[in-house]
């Protein structure tokens, strides 16, 4: 077993990278722990617990700022919790090679999608473009945009499609012990037409409940090893805090892209590990 101190330090770096890229600490901590010799299923379980902590921290901040659309989040949670349980159950039944390859493929896909998304400029749907189901749910919302100095009103649409896609995002989260925030944000942006600030912050709230569902499956399977989970929780929270501070103060999108490229390379390493 790797020592507490080493896991703690690794988790700080993972939390830092996770905040920089917007992919979350789990995407880095799981690959690094496996490189240190930790069993991938135990690494996934420890990561899943830490995702609950980072989600609570980020969601609390965003909710206070009024950026989270609570109704959209709570509606989509219906699908992600079910997906997370299915995903975590698949992990329990899967071979380790499959998990390495799946993790690597998801990291590469998430990284590439982030790089593409940085270059996209999306328009939120107008009121009359909102579909009947989304209107019936009452998902419209608003927030104060400090950069633009005005209040933005938005009308999410295609809630049915969003829910179905969120089931898949929840499965990925439960399967790999990550928040799968990149996918959740993309579903809300591209399928439902939410402004990116709202989808990013709402995604953080959804991640906590999704991770709780996955964690409970791993807990009951005896995969939550406290000597691993505790330093991972603390390290990822500290690293994410440092990363968030730096992100808002000194970094631009170009530097952020370099971090995303590193994550893609980690994905390649994971796939290679899956083919011994």
């Amino acid at each position: 077993m790797v020592s507490f101190e080493i896991v703690f330090l690794v988790a700080i770096v993972a939390g830092f990278f996770g905040a920089m890229t917007g992919l979350g600490g789990g995407t880095v901590i799981v690959p690094v722990l496996t490189l240190l010799g930790v069993d991938i299923k135990m690494a996934i379980a420890a990561s899943m617990v830490s995702v609950v902590a980072t989600s609570c921290s980020a969601a609390a901040m965003y909710v206070r700022q009024g950026l989270v659309n609570l109704k959209v989040g709570m509606y989509l949670e219906m699908f992600t919790v079910v997906g997370a349980v299915i995903g975590a159950s698949i992990t329990l039944a899967s071979g380790r090679q499959f998990l390495f390859v799946a993790f690597g493929a998801v990291l590469i896909a998430a990284g590439i999608s982030l790089l593409i998304k940085q270059r996209l400029s999306l328009e939120s749907p107008a009121r009359d473009q909102q579909d009947r189901f989304s209107r019936w749910l009452g998902l419209a919302g608003s927030y104060d945009d400090r950069a633009e100095g005005r209040r933005i009103i938005y009308y999410p649409t295609r809630a049915g499609l969003g829910g179905a896609l969120m089931l898949i995002a929840g499965m990925i989260a439960g399967l790999l012990g990550i928040g799968a925030g990149a996918f959740k944000v993309m579903v809300q942006d591209l399928a439902m037409g939410l402004p990116t600030k709202v989808s990013t912050s709402t995604s953080n709230m959804i991640i906590g409940v999704t991770a709780l569902a996955g964690t409970s499956v791993y807990l009951s399977a005896g995969l939550v090893e406290p000597n691993l989970a505790v330093p991972v929780i603390l390290g990822v929270v500290v690293g994410a805090f440092i990363g968030t501070l730096l992100l808002v103060r000194i970094l631009n999108e170009t530097i952020r892209s370099y971090f995303v490229v590193v994550v893609i390379l980690i994905g390649v390493v994971m796939i290679v590990q899956g083919f011994p």
Binding site: M1, S3, F4, E5, V49, V52, A53, S55, C56, S57, A59, A60, V63, R64, G66, V68, L70, K71, M74, Y75, E77, M78, V81, V82, V85, W136, L137, G138, G141, S142, Y143, M205, G208, V209, A211, L212, A213, T215, S216, V217, L219, S220, A221, G222, V224, E225, P226, N227, A229, V230, P231, I233, L234, V237
Partner: protein, 123 residues
């Protein structure tokens, strides 16, 4: 934003923040206690295959019998952390039902709550 949604924001924010602070404080306090008494961070007793309710009962049981120690504090922190999102969903369901009388979202959050209870208590 309406006054009502602002209230729900405050409820959610308070639960997440208090849950996170209490859980991290308990874990850190337990680790410091462990370091002072044992001189090292390891090893913590393993958590055997149990569901979350059994885990909480185990932690509370130790507190009830006075068998507290560093591991008790650390496990209490993990239990508080895991129950924080659950408490948020529970509070949201109650808010939609009792304050807003919004039955659509009472059902939606109630569904999430039911799924969580099934997994947390029965898996």
């Amino acid at each position: 934003m309406t006054r009502r949604s602002l209230d729900l924001n405050r409820v959610v924010w308070s639960i997440l923040l208090v849950g996170l602070i209490v859980s991290i404080a308990l874990i850190i306090a337990g680790l410091i206690w462990l370091l002072l008494t044992a001189g090292t961070f390891e090893p913590l007793p393993a958590i055997t295959a149990i569901n979350l309710l059994e885990f909480v009962v185990y932690v509370a049981g130790n507190a009830g019998t006075g068998e507290t120690g560093p591991a008790f504090l650390i496990y209490s922190g993990i239990a508080v952390l895991l129950f924080t999102p659950f408490a948020r969903v529970l509070a949201s369901t109650l808010y939609f039902a009792l304050k807003e009388h919004n039955w659509k979202f009472t059902c939606i959050t109630g569904f999430v709550l039911t799924v969580l209870m099934v997994i947390l208590l029965l898996v």
